[in-house]
């Protein structure tokens, strides 16, 4: 009897390294630092079948340069005709900053958890973004606006460092047409700025002081995106305004190397940001060590 071993093929996991071939179809400069990239899956069938939910992310691959996670900033109804809002800050994003239309890239995903806007139907929604946090927040904003009648009052609070750093400013008028409360605040005014100046928490504090948040306890969900330092301050205020911890949703950022729960780089405690996140309810965040 021959007891030599035979090489067998893997049991599963064919899709582990699979990425969709995609093309950068358009690039819009948004500010000095950020650009909006329209990235379309090349295969029409794959594009149609690419179904994601607001808050999920993709791994964007630039062959020979690198691969990194980016949250999808477009509406889910666009399927695999994606928009990613990317700041040129690292090796890969600075390279991306220099490429133009027609560049072929790899997209894998969608990965991770999403903002459960489908469960918020019938409720008031408060969406809060700080800085680049508007990138992941724009997807649930658009998703809510597209099905506006299913929600109660919708309020957006967005804070940026300077007026010139405000992202998607060309869309604000459109958002407001959907009966949306949109408050914008900047840390530092610039010539021509008419709006309020200060931190995002000041708008919240003002609303609490005016009793505008009294209705929160009845059924309001909050979605919060921003730099790590922002979460605790904003979420503490929301809790003070009686929003239940399990109805506050945040999107956490970690540098992922696989997006598939295998590289461990995005671990928070026993939790993978790529599989169990990036969207967490605040109850989970309170239970995690070093989450924010």
């Amino acid at each position: 009897m021959n007891t030599n071993l035979e090489c067998v093929q893997p049991v599963s996991g064919e899709e582990f390294e699979y990425s969709y071939k995609a093309e950068i179809t358009n690039v819009y400069p948004l500010t000095r630092m950020e650009k909006l990239y329209q990235i379309q899956l090349v295969d029409p069938m794959e594009r149609e079948r690419f179904i994601f939910r607001p808050g999920q992310f993709v791994m964007l691959e630039l062959p020979g340069i690198g691969e990194a996670p980016f949250s999808i900033t477009s509406s889910p109804v666009r399927h695999g005709d994606l928009e990613l809002c990317i700041r040129a800050v690292g090796n890969m994003t600075k390279f991306l900053d220099r490429v133009g239309r027609g560049t072929r890239v790899g997209i894998s995903g969608p990965f991770g958890t999403h903002f459960p806007v489908e469960k918020m139907e019938g409720e008031d929604i408060l969406l809060i973004a700080g800085g680049l946090g508007i990138a992941p927040l724009r997807s649930p904003i658009l998703a809510v606006l597209e099905t506006r009648s299913r929600y109660g009052q919708v309020d957006i609070i967005y804070g940026a460092r300077r007026p010139s750093e405000l992202l998607f400013d060309y869309e604000y008028a459109m958002w407001r047409q959907f009966d949306v409360g949109l408050d914008i605040i900047v840390d530092q005014a610039e010539p021509g700025w008419q709006g309020p100046v200060g931190l995002i928490t000041e708008i919240l504090k003002e609303r609490i002081a005016k009793g505008q948040t009294d209705r929160f306890r009845e059924g309001t969900s909050a979605i919060v995106c921003g730099p790590p330092v922002m979460f605790r301050f904003v979420c503490d205020l929301l809790i003070a305004a009686q929003v239940p911890v399990e109805k506050i949703f945040v999107s956490l950022e970690r540098r992922m190397h696989c997006g598939r729960g295998k590289c461990c780089r995005c671990n928070i405690g026993s939790t993978y940001t790529c599989l169990d996140g990036p969207v967490f309810d605040y109850w989970s965040v309170l239970n995690l060590k070093e989450a924010i």
């Binding site: 090489c7 067998v8 390294e17 691969e67 700041r87 190397h257 729960g261 599989l275």
Partner: protein, 352 residues
Amino acid sequence: MLFKVFPAAELIRLFELLAADRIVGPVKKGEDRYGRSLYDFDVVHDFSDLHLDYEQTIHSAKNYFLPYREDLCTFTFQDDGSGDGGDWHKEVDYGVYAPLVLFGLHPCDINALNKLDKVLLGGRYPNPFYGEKRANMFIVGHSCSPQPFCFCKSMGTDSAIRGFDLFLTRMDDLYFAEILSPRAFHLLEQIDCHDPDSSEHRHYMDIMEARESLFIAHVDTSDLTKILDLEFQASVWEEWGQKCLSCGTCAQVCPTCYCYGVEERVDMDFTRAYKEKQLYSCNLLDFASVAGGHNFRPESHTRLKYRYYHKHRGFVEAFEESLCVGCGRCGQSCLARITVPEVIASVRASKE
């Protein structure tokens, strides 16, 4: 489980039957300054190079199932001259073309593979690079003599009950064999072996009992997950952090550390690029840094603490067992002499 007994002199025939495939086992690599032998896993070409009496290898056999460097894919560029960089083609090769025999793994290292299987082959995205290596692996385990730094007994990994094809225990001039796979069963049919009689059963039991008494190091794991949560802010972590050099040696020698990073490299003529996976260590400074410069674990003690939390708390929460197998390699290799039993004991003793 089936058991067989064969004369120790037959081991070379077993080895040669397996030698048609690549055999990796413990080989002597040199001596330390006290004249003690140093062992490591390497390809064994000659039976006489196989040192089954090794105390412990410096590294685990990880390089053969989680290589330190491994290409995840190859990109071939086709520049059509249009100026947009042209198109590219992606090819994925799991890189396994031949089976591998791991000869002489101790129970801790077999259990390390069992634990890695849970995380790397489970979940929504099983890792095929690891999976294909595992599917083409024949494992011959070998019993060990507990060393002063081994705390596998505390971690419940001092014996292997699954995850091997054949497990050998030396009984004077005999080998007691535990058989878990048909391949191993057919292999033993080709050498001179017999079913153990009652005196050989007794002999085996005596050896196992004698081995029990050799364990010295001990880690109290009772309620450890809760204690780690309660002591998250304990100052004792900072004390260990001051000793830790953040060099990542512990992860390098650990049989279950699987964290990695990905980098791409490009051929000199720009026709091809490779996506390369490199094993990483959570103790290295930039492990949890993100774009824009923020680092979630900038101090060395936060990274050291994270390593203990992942091994002894996070993995327990996910899989109801610790990721640590108690092989003691990290403590033996640590330049700052930080050992798991001491760290856990100090955290347990912390009264804050």
